[in-house]
């Protein structure tokens, strides 16, 4: 019977989808709603929940300096994404230039991305060490400074130092995305333009960049998501210090929830984080003409 078979087919489809959907339901959709609910409650494991309306939001926006500092830091981190993308673009152009050994170079540059971020944080923390670190040693030998700077303990240098480490880790990933985009540009476009007398810079600006726009904006979206979710590096390198100079929204959320045990307030912070992330990615998506696509933020 065709109807029975179709009914069985439908059943089979849902059977196949069920386990995955269950995991996404449990660990992505339900948490989203639960966060929203928690954020408007006063909740603690010992007392029953009571509805509190916008109490947490009021505290967050009007009485919490750390929130605003962490928000500012997150935005600064986000604003550094274009630097990484520009570097990655330069690297992609170099690697794409048809020289021998390009696969080796590509592998070396990309190797930093799959590394454990905790280990990367420890490595860089030590490179930045005030007395023993390689960076200070090199700077002193080059005569740039007289004595070591405590990068991770200084208000001015801590955030840039962490950002430098983050760029080191992610530039390979951006480069891979941009390489894929570059390889999608038909070479005869460049040849035709060269025949018409266009110089390399002109060709870069009028052919490469426009055709690379989807990849560039994709990198931008990835960089934005990374700045909102980059917990490991900060935790290992500075713990959000000194004095919240490197505290991001996500590290503040972790601290509020699991160190200070204020799960309801942390939930409110998470709601703000998520809405902000959605808003910024939507804006970036619109600016790119909607071609950047959805991205998995799995890490």
């Amino acid at each position: 019977m065709i109807a029975a078979r179709r009914w069985r087919r439908q059943g089979m489809v849902w059977l196949l989808l069920a386990p995955s959907l269950a995991i996404f339901f449990l660990y992505r959709i339900v948490p989203l709603g639960w966060n929203a609910v928690l954020s408007v409650q006063k909740w603690s494991p010992l007392r029953p929940a009571e509805f509190a309306g916008l109490y947490h939001y009021e505290e967050m926006f009007f009485h919490d300096d750390v929130f605003w500092t962490s928000l500012k830091n997150t935005l600064v981190y986000m604003a550094s994404a274009p630097i990484g993308i520009a570097l990655a673009l330069a690297l992609a152009l170099l690697v794409n230039a048809g020289i021998r050994g390009r696969t080796v170079y590509r592998a070396i540059i990309f190797a930093s991305y799959p590394l454990m971020t905790v280990a990367v944080g420890i490595i860089w923390r030590w490179l930045y060490d005030e007395k023993l670190g390689l960076i200070n040693y090199a700077l002193i030998r080059l005569g740039v400074i007289d004595k070591g700077i405590a990068f991770l303990d200084s208000f001015i240098w801590a955030m840039p130092a962490v950002i430098a480490a983050a760029i080191w880790q992610i530039v390979g990933f951006f480069m891979i995305v941009l390489l894929a985009g570059l390889q999608g540009i038909p070479p005869n476009l460049h040849e035709a333009a060269a025949i018409d007398g266009a110089g390399p810079l002109q060709r870069f600006l009028s052919i490469t960049v426009p055709l690379l726009r989807p990849s560039l904006f994709l990198c931008l979206v990835l960089g934005i998501i990374n700045s909102f979710t980059s917990f490991d590096l900060i935790y290992v390198m500075t713990r959000g210090g000194p004095n919240y100079a490197t505290e991001l929204l996500i590290t503040y959320i972790y601290r509020a929830a699991f160190v200070l045990s204020q799960l309801d307030y942390a939930a409110a912070l998470t709601v703000v984080l998520f809405l902000l992330l959605l808003g910024v990615t939507w804006a970036a998506n619109r600016a790119s003409g909607g071609e950047a696509g959805a991205v998995e933020a799995a890490e």
């Binding site: 089979m12 540059i109 390689l134 080191w168 959805a294």
Partner: protein, 270 residues
């Protein structure tokens, strides 16, 4: 091939490679000498190299227990990723009424980063009594949407004639999946394995939240605990880093192609 001089490009790329490799080399150098911590100024090449810090890490951390923890969690995550994602990817190649809605649902779930879910995820794991267990550590990672679409794309590429012939032979959906689709999609399976392994192996925030006693720690968490207890006092910290990085590096070198394919596929899925 390229016209014009290539040496400037090589020079630039060599300089960049040096910058990218220097941190790794420096940590490796310290892990075999302990220089820099106790001897300054640092030397570029290791003097008196020895492997004793690695022995220290093995016994004092203890490395083996955390390696096993990480391995078990990764094994659960990888195995369930392959199975669940293949099933879901296959389901998406079939026609059914709610298909568009499901695809839309999956795409929107991709926009929800794990970090936005940690508090309820913790509460849920607690309710399921899975706190501090290997399964609890692996569960949020047991299926990823990127990999579902990787499987779907691979399954879509299987010729229709093969599927029709199999149906005529009386093979059900599960049979088709296991006997026809999967064997023809080894690249997708490899991509799944590599991505799931790397993500579960390097995962730090979730173990930090879920692990409640020292013995259940995974490698990243153990590394961080070691750092907070001992800081810079011993070269063993850097030996620990190297030992924890090696599996990731080995997988990367072996399966770089699959890794890159998986990442670009996920990144460009729209």
């Amino acid at each position: 091939m390229r016209r014009g001089p290539t040496w400037p490009i090589h020079l630039a790329l060599l300089a960049v490679s040096a910058v990218m490799l220097m941190p790794l080399y420096w940590v490796f150098r310290t892990s075999v000498t302990g220089d820099n911590i106790f001897a300054y100024p640092p030397a570029l090449l290791p003097r008196h190299a020895h492997l004793y810090y690695f022995v220290d890490v093995w016994y004092y951390v203890p490395f083996a227990r955390f390696l096993v923890n990480s391995a078990v969690v990764s094994l659960i995550a990888v195995a369930s990723n392959v199975v669940l994602n293949a099933m879901a990817g296959y389901a998406l190649t079939l026609e059914f009424r709610a298909k568009r809605a499901v695809v839309l649902l999956l795409l929107s779930c991709m926009m929800i980063p794990f970090q936005a879910t940690i508090i309820p995820a913790y509460l849920i794991t607690k309710e399921l009594r899975l706190l501090n267990t290997h399964l609890g550590l692996a569960l949020p990672l047991c299926s990823t949407i990127v990999c579902i679409f990787v499987f779907k794309a691979a399954f879509d590429a299987v010729p229709r004639s093969l599927i029709d012939a199999a149906r005529l032979d009386g093979l059900g959906d599960l049979g088709i999946l296991a006997r026809i689709m999967l064997p023809l999609s080894t690249a997708a399976v490899a991509t799944n394995v590599v991505l799931a392994f790397i993500w579960s192996w390097n995962n730090f925030l979730w173990p930090l939240i879920v692990v409640r006693n020292q013995e259940m720690q995974t490698l990243p968490l153990a590394l961080s605990t070691f750092l907070s207890y001992l800081e810079n006092t011993t070269g063993a910290l850097y030996a620990f880093c190297i030992m924890a990085l090696i599996p990731g590096l080995v997988v990367f070198v072996l399966a770089q192609k699959q890794f890159v394919e998986g990442l670009t596929a996920g990144a460009t899925k729209g």
